[in-house]
Symmetry: C2
Subunit: 181 residues, 2 copies
DNA sequence: TATTTTGTTCAAAAAATATTGAACAAAATA
DNA sequence: TATTTTGTTCAATATTTTTTGAACAAAATA
């Protein structure tokens, strides 16, 4: 893996007290740990590692970064960065920003983690739950064509499953309110 | 893929009315659809497909199945079935049952989907959330060593993240109650 | 005890998924 | 308009994950 952060921050002020002179190094540590954190979150919600890296880098950035910045700092191909940014923009986790005097796109976080979670909840979890409902109902109707014994056994199990699915649907709004609001 | 269900059910009764004579075929359809359903659920919570297949097959089974039964009906290797069953037993989704006159292990579902979810919530989601907390706190402490400007910017973002994490922790018990209870 | 049956483990193969990089198109500049 | 810069797409490659199957150990049977 390549170096993570340039010396920019250190060079921006003329004077810093001794303990703060260590800042660039500390900043690198913090940056690496931030990226690591978001890589975990990404993997947790089923995104590839690279998406987490990009998000983590933007989390630490003090200004919007260009595609090239991202590739360079994360040692990642342009293709990956482009795809990752596209996906992250898709879930409203990242937005494009105009920076005067630079004709390249610049990227920064859009809102906070809640927005990212909202995307996940609404575009992955919710449809998933809905799909389960469709499948359970389809199964239920087909079970009616079975022999009595089989039908009874199935319906018992399906009933519990249907019940559980209802609960899952019931808790969704609360999750969206608390985590995605 | 191989045939899914033997003719057993059809052969168990001497007479069935015309419409029910179709039962074996219907049963196969239902079985395939059940397995499909649980494959989705498995993939949803990050288990391999084969785990879902096993669970789905056991969901449809009228009696505890042996390892060989499972391999045969799902056209799956012994190794896969063994590993899948081990994992499913680990999350209390499947249990071993003694069947007189058969020295092979027999497997059946343990409780309903709630138990499986409980396993997922307690053994995956909860530790994941806890790990995030640890990482966020580690980051927070390291941010204190940064320069003032950086520190301020970071703490703003970290504050929101910490806040979000608290909400996530808060909603866990409700999820466990509704989905895993 | 020797043989068979049963289930587990793990290295290797296969499958699924993510990443790369070169070709391309679109937009900006010369 | 020709050239350069920028970002996207997608086939090829690399990586990760899952599955297989043969070797093994444990338990049951002969």
């Amino acid at each position: 893996m390549r170096s993570f952060l340039p010396m920019k921050q250190a060079l921006e002020s003329d004077f810093t007290p001794p303990v703060e002179a260590l800042s660039p190094k500390n900043f690198q540590v913090v940056e690496v740990e931030s990226i690591d954190l978001f890589v975990r979150i990404a993997q947790f919600i089923g995104f590839p590692k690279s998406f987490g890296e990009i998000y983590g880098l933007l989390f630490t950035a003090s200004e919007p970064l260009s595609l090239d910045d991202i590739c360079e700092r994360l040692n990642m191909s342009k293709g990956s960065a482009s795809q990752g940014l596209k996906a992250l923009r898709g879930v409203h986790a990242v937005k494009t920003t105009y920076v005067p005097g630079d004709r390249r796109d610049r990227f920064e976080l859009e809102g906070n983690i809640r927005l990212l979670m909202q995307g996940f909840l609404q575009e992955r979890l919710e449809p998933g739950i809905r799909d389960l409902g469709v499948r359970i109902e389809s199964l239920s109707s087909k079970v009616n064509a079975l022999q009595n014994g089989e039908k009874k056994r199935y319906n018992e199990r399906l009933g519990k499953l249907r019940n559980w699915h209802k609960q899952a649907q019931k808790i969704m709004p609360a999750m969206e309110r608390l985590l995605g609001g």
